[in-house]
Symmetry: C2
Subunit: 402 residues, 2 copies
C-alpha cells in the first residue's frame, strides 16, 4: 500500500515552521507541540492540476486527489464530500440577500461533515500501519471515526461527554467501537482519553489538529465551493466553529488555489460562529488576542460548539483577521428559532451548529456587515436527525404536537 | 414556469395503454385506475443524450434532465440523488462475492431514498399550479414531502401510522407540515388520507404510483448504476420492496436506456426483498400470481416494508419474472443481525429495509442463486439514524451498553 500521495512534499509546523518527512507517523510538532500541516509540491502541479480536469471525477472529496495526502481508494471511501451547494431563494429574499447559499454537509456518511476529516485521517493512519485509533469527541467525530475504522478493519476507542446526543453514541456502538462516556465537556473527555492512552500507547489519536490529516479532508470544502460556484469563491463564509478545523482547512485550500494559479489574492471574509454559552474565539477576537483563553462552564445545545479551548485557536484567529472577517456568538434560543425557520422556508434540516450560522447571519445583516450583492455561504455541518433532544425542544416551544 | 420538460411525449397507462397530455394535472388512469407512466420522445434523444455528455453535470439526479418530466431548477433541489455506489470488499470476501456493491441512498436529503421521487413529484405538481400536497406514508416519504413542500412554498398534509419512527414525524413537524397519526399500517393511514381528501379536494395526493412523477425520480437510480459502473449494469440487484416504485422505476430506466442505444436487451436479475411479517409480493411470486393479495396483520421492524398491498403489484411481479429475478422474505432477527454486521464490517449505517437486502443476499448465496463472478448491488434506502428504536434493539441484543 502506497502511504504517501504523489505530490506531498513534507509536513510543516504551523507555528515554528519545522519540517518533517510525511512517510512516518506524526502527531504534532515534536519541537513546539503545535499542529502540523501538509505541504504539497504545488510548483509541480501548476498547470497540470487545473479546474478543467475536475468535472468527470469521483463524486467525493477524492476528486481533489492531487492535493490530498493519501492516494484515493474506493475501498476506504463511504462517499464523503462533494455535498450540494444549495441556493436559498426564499430565505435570501427575506434577508435581502439574493445570493445566499448553504453548503449542506448533512449529505455526508453518518450525516455530518466530520466524515471528511476522518476519512482522510483514518486512511493515512492505516497506510502507516496504525491498527487502533481513538478520539475524544462531542459526538459526530467519534461516529465518523467508528465508521471509517470499521470500513478499514481498525479498532476504534472513543471518549464522549455524557451529554453527547444519542445517535452519535449508537453509531459508535453499532459499528463495534469501544465507547467511554465521561462527565463534563469535550475537555474532560479529552483528558480521560489522554490518561487512557498512557496505558494504551498503541492507540493513535486522531483528535482535532493532533495529527496532520483531518484538516486535509476538511479543506476540500474550500475546493468544492470554488468548483460549485463556477470557478470563484464567495464573498462571505459563515462557519460554526468548535475546534476550527474547517476554517483552517478552507483557508489552507485557498492558499493552495492561489499557488496553483486558480485564484488571485482575494479571499472570502471568514466568520466564526459560536454559541453564547461557549464563545472563546469570539471573546479573543473582540479582545484582540492571538490565542483564546479556556471558556469556563461551557453550555449550549449545539454539542459541536461546546469546545472550551481549541488547539488551533491562534490559526482560527489569524484567519478571521487576515480575511477581514469576524466572530459572532448566538444564543441557544436563536439557534432553535433558526432551525425551525430554515426547515420551514427551505426544507433544510439543520443541526444546531449549522442553524447557528443562520442566526449569526441575521445579526450581521441587521448590523449592515453583509450587503445585498454579496455571495454568502452558510455551512450546515450535520443533519438535525443527529440531535433528537434539540429537535424535541424546538417542536415543544412551537407548541406543535410532539 | 415551464411545466413540461422538452422531451416528454405523453403519459401512458401501465395497464390499458391509454395516453394523456402531460401538461395537465393527472393522477391514475381515468379509464382503469392503474398507474400512469411518462413516455419520452426517445427517438429525438437517440445519439444526442449519450453517456458521454454526463460527466460534468449536476451532482444530483437532475444530471439526467433529458429523461425527467420537469426542467431542472436549483431552487427546487435539496441535492437529491447521485448517491455513492460503494464497493464492499470485506463483506464481499466473507460472502465469496468480490464484486459486491451497496448503493447508499442514505446520502439523500432527509437521509432516505424517498427524496428522489418527491423532489420530482413536488416540482411537477407545483409546475401545474398545485398549492397543497399530501400523502400517507410509513415515514420517509412523508418526511421528504414535507421538506420539498417547504422548499417550494407549498402546504403539506401528512397521514402517518402511529408506529412511524419518530425522526420521520419530527421532520414533517419541523418543516411546518400538518401531521395526522393513524392507528394501524400504511393501509389505514391511506384510507384516512383518502377520507380527508373527500373534504379537502384541493390537496393533491402524491401517494406511490397515484401520480406519474415519483417513479421518474426513482428511476434515476437505474441511470446512476449504469454510469457509476462505468457504462454497464450489474448482474443482480437486491431492492427492499414496499410500494415498489424503485424496482418499477429502475426497470423503466433500463427500457429507456435500451431505446437510447446505451445498452442491449440484457437486464440485471431483480430481487424484491420483503419482511417475513409482510411479504405479499414474495407470496404472490411463489404462487405464480399476477397480482398480490392483501397481507393481513402486517408486522415488521422495517417500517418501509409494512405495505400490505401495493398499487403497482402487477408491475413489480412482471419485473421480477421478466428479469429472471426472484422475491425473498427475511426475518426481523436477520435484519437486525445484518444491520450490525454491515456497520461492523463496512461502516455502513443501514436502515432495516436496507439491511434486509443483505439478509436476503446471505440466503441467496447459501442457495447458490448468486455466483462469485457476478456484480451484485444491494440498496440501502435510508440511514439507521431514522430508526432509533430499531438501533436500540440491535444494541440491546448485542449486550452492548445502550
Amino acid at each position: 500500500m502506497q502511504s504517501v500521495a504523489e505530490y506531498v512534499d513534507s509536513l510543516v509546523c504551523s507555528a515554528c515552521g519545522a519540517a518533517f518527512a510525511p512517510a512516518q507517523r506524526h502527531t504534532t510538532c515534536s519541537h513546539c507541540g503545535k499542529p502540523l500541516l501538509v505541504r504539497y509540491r504545488i510548483e509541480a502541479l501548476r498547470g497540470r492540476f487545473r479546474p478543467e480536469v475536475l468535472p468527470g471525477r469521483a463524486r467525493s472529496l477524492w476528486r481533489y486527489a492531487e492535493v490530498l495526502p493519501v492516494p484515493p481508494d474506493p475501498r476506504w471511501s463511504l462517499g464523503e464530500g462533494w455535498t450540494p451547494l444549495l441556493p436559498q431563494p426564499r430565505l435570501g429574499r427575506a434577508l435581502g440577500l439574493p445570493k445566499l447559499y448553504v453548503k449542506d454537509e448533512s449529505l455526508n456518511p453518518g450525516g455530518s461533515f466530520k466524515a471528511r476529516g476522518l476519512a482522510v485521517a483514518v486512511a493515512a493512519a492505516a497506510a502507516r500501519g496504525v491498527q487502533q485509533v481513538g478520539v475524544a469527541s462531542a459526538g459526530n467525530a467519534a461516529g465518523a471515526l467508528a465508521l471509517y475504522a470499521a470500513r478499514l478493519g481498525l479498532r476504534a476507542v472513543l471518549f464522549l461527554p455524557e451529554e453527547t446526543p444519542e445517535p452519535a453514541v449508537w453509531e459508535c456502538q453499532i459499528a463495534g467501537a469501544e465507547v467511554h462516556r465521561v462527565p463534563g465537556t469535550i475537555a474532560e473527555a479529552g483528558a480521560a482519553f489522554e490518561a487512557y492512552r498512557q496505558e494504551h500507547p498503541d492507540i493513535f489519536s486522531v483528535a482535532t489538529l493532533r495529527e496532520p490529516y483531518r484538516v486535509e479532508g476538511k479543506k476540500t470544502m474550500g475546493y468544492e465551493l470554488f468548483e460549485q460556484l463556477g470557478g470563484r469563491l464567495p464573498d462571505v463564509i459563515l462557519y460554526p466553529t468548535g475546534g476550527g478545523t474547517g476554517l483552517i482547512g478552507m483557508w489552507k485550500a485557498f492558499e493552495e488555489m492561489e499557488a496553483l494559479g486558480w485564484i488571485g489574492p482575494e479571499r472570502p471574509r471568514m466568520v466564526a460562529v459560536q454559541a453564547a454559552g461557549c464563545a472563546p474565539i469570539v471573546r479573543a477576537f473582540q479582545e484582540g488576542r492571538e490565542t483564546a483563553a479556556y471558556w469556563e462552564d461551557a453550555q449550549t445545545i449545539a454539542a459541536g460548539l461546546r469546545v472550551p479551548k481549541a488547539l488551533g485557536d491562534f490559526l482560527i484567529l489569524r484567519v478571521l483577521r487576515e480575511s477581514q472577517g469576524t466572530a459572532v456568538a448566538v444564543s441557544d434560543a436563536d439557534i432553535q428559532a433558526a432551525m425551525r425557520r430554515w426547515a420551514q422556508t427551505e426544507g433544510l434540516l439543520a443541526a444546531p451548529e449549522g442553524a447557528a450560522t443562520l442566526a449569526a447571519l441575521i445579526q450581521l445583516q441587521e448590523a449592515g456587515w453583509v450587503h445585498a450583492e454579496e455571495t454568502v455561504v452558510l455551512f450546515n455541518t450535520a443533519t438535525a436527525h443527529k440531535y433528537p433532544a434539540v429537535v424535541r425542544q424546538v417542536l415543544r416551544q412551537a407548541g406543535g404536537p410532539v
